[in-house]
């Protein structure tokens, strides 16, 4: 049905033409779910956009054949190409919230799409829309249709989006990261829906994603891309289970398994020739160890509750406060890694902010290694905990001030906490610390934007370490990173923890990653603790229903695929 050969896409820039996609090949049959997987910058979305003709200008297709059935897609003029969209090919995007026009009802959007391609009366179109929505799993479709997009929840919206893509019966749907923004349970339902549509309606799907688990769960065939080039393709079981190309093997090595805990990830050296975590940095290491004279420190939370004022909607009634965290109690053993797992809205970030003093709990107490830990404004700027608790944030692109040089960023904790008085000594220590985290010492004079996401996270780790903390809070530190970079960073964290006896709180929504890192785990849902216990025990024999559901619905690769 779809045949792509030798596709090459270029983007002109002031440095000459940049090749985003080079000699790409792909074939999709009716009813086939074809996964397109790769790390960020691989060009996956560009391939999808090129096929449907929605390339972001000034990008252009410089070479290749695109055949949909008997139609040569490249030979169509503007109007023919537009007529084809929706009728034969459709595309859905990652964020259901921004994909729908906020000013039009769902009904209007469905009806207009149907009528754009068929000569059919409004009432007939409406009836078809109702049927379609019910098929998607939206009950009471006839009434609900008349609502606006913002009145639907995230999962429901994505179903509306899929309905919109389907309502014209296209042959091929290009899905660009369709479930990345969704919770695990909702993701599972949407993936099942896609599988069913492919089986029953014989719609072909191009599933673009970076999540290998998703591919493993529903894709029939898969293509692996890297830097715009095709690396490997074939049936999913073969490519993921017994990959032939070295890059694919590396990729699969880096995927954290959900079913067991491994010691370290197998990673190749990155472009700098440095193997992460095995940098030199002896002086920094000695300095850190010197500060670790005292024993590792533990953290305790007792009945901590955090509320936010509710939004006012009525003049008469005062709004109920929104409870972000309720009666949180747990104990982090000194020198251990505590994993905190939860979906979006569970309160994970609120917990991190409360621990670091950015948010004040409404009730409850916190203790740091025996001494009381004041919350929010009560915590003075000079309080000892400011140094002892450090954090690595989620977004490497915003956690480092892009207007400061790396040296300035790194030196801040040193003079702030009076750890090193002499300016030159500070600089030397910073350069050594960069070595320790696997970065070249010249990094110190550069700006953050000159580095990739993974490198920036390492700088962030260096910054945290330079405060000589006892507790390191990692808030989704690898969620924004590619899977191979993630593996490197996780290795680094493991090594550092075992070398310096840090107590770590590792927060993530990714169950597999948490399993790899933690000794103990807390499962959060809607601000409450669902389950807490030693990591291996919790993963092997979960007691709470919620944990069981999370574990069963997380997409993973079937065990029988892996031969090696």
């Amino acid at each position: 049905m779809l045949r792509v050969e030798n596709l090459t896409v270029k983007f002109p820039s002031r440095f000459g033409d940049v090749t985003a996609v080079e000699k790409m090949m792909m074939a999709i049959a009716p009813g086939e779910i074809h996964g397109l997987v790769g790390e960020s910058g691989a060009g996956k979305s560009t391939v999808g956009a090129a096929i449907i003709g929605l390339l972001q200008p000034p990008g252009y297709i410089s070479d290749g054949t695109l055949m949909l059935g008997d139609t040569d897609l490249r030979s169509l003029d503007r109007y023919q190409a537009h007529a084809l969209r929706g009728k034969r090919i459709s595309m859905i995007f990652q964020d259901p919230q921004t994909s729908l026009n906020p000013l039009m009802t769902v009904q209007d959007q469905l009806v207009e799409t149907i009528q754009a391609h068929e000569d059919i009366s409004t009432s007939d179109a409406q009836a078809r829309a109702v049927d379609l929505l019910e098929e998607m799993g939206i009950k009471n479709a006839a009434t609900r249709m008349r609502s606006y997009p913002h009145q639907f929840s995230g999962g429901m919206r994505q179903r509306v989006v899929i309905a919109l893509a389907l309502c014209t019966n296209p042959e091929l749907i290009i899905a660009d990261e369709p479930t990345t923004a969704l919770d695990v349970a909702v993701q599972s339902q949407v993936l099942d829906l896609i599988r069913e549509l492919a089986n029953v309606r014989k719609v072909g799907f191009m599933l673009i994603t970076h999540d290998i688990g998703v591919i493993a769960q529903i894709a029939d065939t898969v293509t692996v891309m890297r830097r715009g080039k095709l690396i490997e393709n074939g049936s999913t079981a073969q490519v993921l289970g017994s990959p032939t190309h070295a890059y694919t093997k590396q990729l699969m090595d880096a995927v954290p398994p959900l079913d067991r805990k491994i010691d370290r990830f197998r990673v190749p050296a990155d472009e700098d020739g440095l193997v992460a975590g095995q940098g030199k940095g002896d002086k920094a290491e000695a300095w850190l160890l010197a500060g670790a004279k005292e024993d590792a420190v533990g953290l305790t939370l007792n009945d901590v509750t955090v509320t936010f004022p509710g939004t006012r909607t009525s003049i008469w009634r005062k709004p109920d406060p929104y409870v972000a965290l309720e009666n949180i109690t747990f104990d982090v053993r000194p020198g251990s890694i505590m994993g905190i797992v939860g979906e979006s809205g569970s309160g994970k970030s609120t917990l991190a902010k409360t621990l670091t003093g950015l948010i004040k709990p409404a009730s409850g107490t916190m203790t740091l290694g025996g001494g009381a830990l004041p919350g929010g404004r009560a915590r003075a700027r000079k309080h000892a905990s400011r140094q002892l608790i450090q954090m690595v944030f989620q977004d490497p692109y915003s956690s480092l001030n892009s207007r400061h040089r790396v040296g300035t960023i790194l030196a801040e904790p040193l003079w702030l906490y009076g750890l090193v008085a002499d300016k030159d000594a500070r600089r030397a220590l910073c350069m050594d610390m960069l070595n320790l985290v696997g970065m070249a010492p010249e990094t110190i004079d550069k700006f953050p934007h000159q580095f990739s996401g993974g490198q920036r996270q390492r700088i962030a780790v260096a910054r945290a370490l330079l405060a000589r903390p006892k507790i390191l809070i990692c808030d989704e530190p690898t969620s924004a990173l590619d899977v191979s970079i993630q593996a490197q960073l996780l290795n680094l964290l493991k090594d550092l923890q075992s070398a310096f006896g840090l107590t770590i709180l590792f927060i993530s929504h990714n169950l597999s990653v948490v399993r790899q890192m933690s000794d103990d785990v807390v499962v959060l849902r809607n601000g409450r603790i669902q389950e807490i216990g030693p990591s291996e025990q919790l993963y092997e024999n979960p007691s709470a229903d919620y944990t069981k559901m999370l574990l069963s619905l997380t997409p993973v690769m079937p065990k029988d695929w892996k031969l090696g």
Binding site: S90, M91, L103
Partner: protein, 324 residues
């Protein structure tokens, strides 16, 4: 939604009160009303008596309350310069300014919005570049220069249109209007155009920026991917969403129109409120200055309230609660 409206109402009242306070402070602290009103011949004793009678020795808060009360009743005091009731002076001038302002606003919207849409949808055309250049120049030329140039070309060189005054007006009840006679319109065109040009460029640039932003949004991409016809995309989807933020600015624009009317009225000797205000500044006629402030603020606040209501009507997210 009711809460939203109530909140805005309270804010508006607050702003009005603050402006009233400002105006009142003007009265009290700038110059001495008694000396302004009586001149040098009056004895000190008489002045003191006048002061007492007018209640100028009463506590501050009390005077402010009385001032506000008077304003609400429509009693605006007397002008230092002409001894006339300020209310009367302003009332005779309001129609001139309002008519000028409305026509200017209409010109700016009727030309500005389509121009903005066009330049947003065809960013690389020659016409677009020309329009953008023209608007850049339009924004940079002071209103009074535009006025002078128009007077020069159409009034002096070509002699087609009158260069000052309102021309033929018709009195409808208390409202003296220019709209009903050709003469009135001829006198209105040049000043309205002068006033409108600046607003026009602002509107156009705003619509263009917003529209380009909207055209990059995900829902437009998705609608394109679904094959929604181009025209419908541009107008029903893109334009409708663009209008939402644009409408807010129109409220502010009205303020600009009133402000710049001062200049335009000065150039064309148009007998409106702006000219009155200008004269009051020259003669430090505090009562007129103060009341003018309050009246302008009132119009401004009123227009913004209406704009907010419109906002609520158009954007369903404000009407119906967000479930997510």
């Amino acid at each position: 939604m009711v809460y939203f409206i109530a909140k805005r109402l309270i804010q508006s009242v607050f702003v009005m009160l603050a402006v009233a306070f400002l105006a009142f402070s003007l009265f009290r602290f700038v110059g001495d009303p008694i000396t302004q009103m009586t001149g040098v011949e009056t004895s000190v004793a008489d002045q003191d008596r006048l002061r007492e009678e007018l209640g100028l020795n009463d506590p501050f808060a009390y005077q402010f309350a009385r001032f506000t009360g008077d304003l609400l009743k429509g009693d605006f005091g007397f002008s230092y310069r002409t001894r006339q009731p300020v209310a009367e002076m302003i009332a005779t001038r309001i129609p001139a300014t309002l008519e000028l302002g409305i026509v200017a606003l209409i010109i700016s919207l009727v030309v500005g919005i389509p121009a903005g849409v066009y330049t947003a949808l065809r960013p690389r055309g020659i016409a677009t570049q020309a329009i953008l250049m023209a608007t850049l120049v339009g924004v940079s030329i002071p209103t009074f220069v535009i006025g002078i140039m128009l007077i020069f070309f159409f009034g002096v060189q070509l002699g087609w249109l009158p260069t000052f005054g309102r021309g033929g007006t018709v009195k409808l009840g208390g409202w003296e209007t220019s709209f009903l006679t050709i003469d009135g319109w001829r006198a209105l065109i040049l000043p309205a155009f002068t006033l409108g040009v600046y607003q026009l460029t602002l509107t156009m640039r705003l619509v263009r920026a917003e529209m380009m932003e909207v055209m990059r949004s995900d829902y437009i991409r998705f609608a394109t991917a679904r094959g929604v016809p181009m025209n419908r995309l541009y107008f029903k989807h893109a334009l409708a969403n663009t209008m939402v933020p644009v409408i807010t600015i129109i409220g502010l624009q009205f303020g600009g129109v009133i402000a710049f009317s001062i200049v335009t009225e000065s150039v064309f000797q148009w007998p409106g409120m702006g000219l009155l205000f200008l004269e009051s500044i020259r003669f430090v006629d505090i009562p007129v200055m103060g009341v003018y402030l309050v009246v302008i603020a009132f119009f401004f606040v009123l227009v913004n309230l209406i704009v907010d209501m419109l906002y609520v009507l158009i954007d369903p997210r404000l009407r119906i609660r967000d479930v997510s």
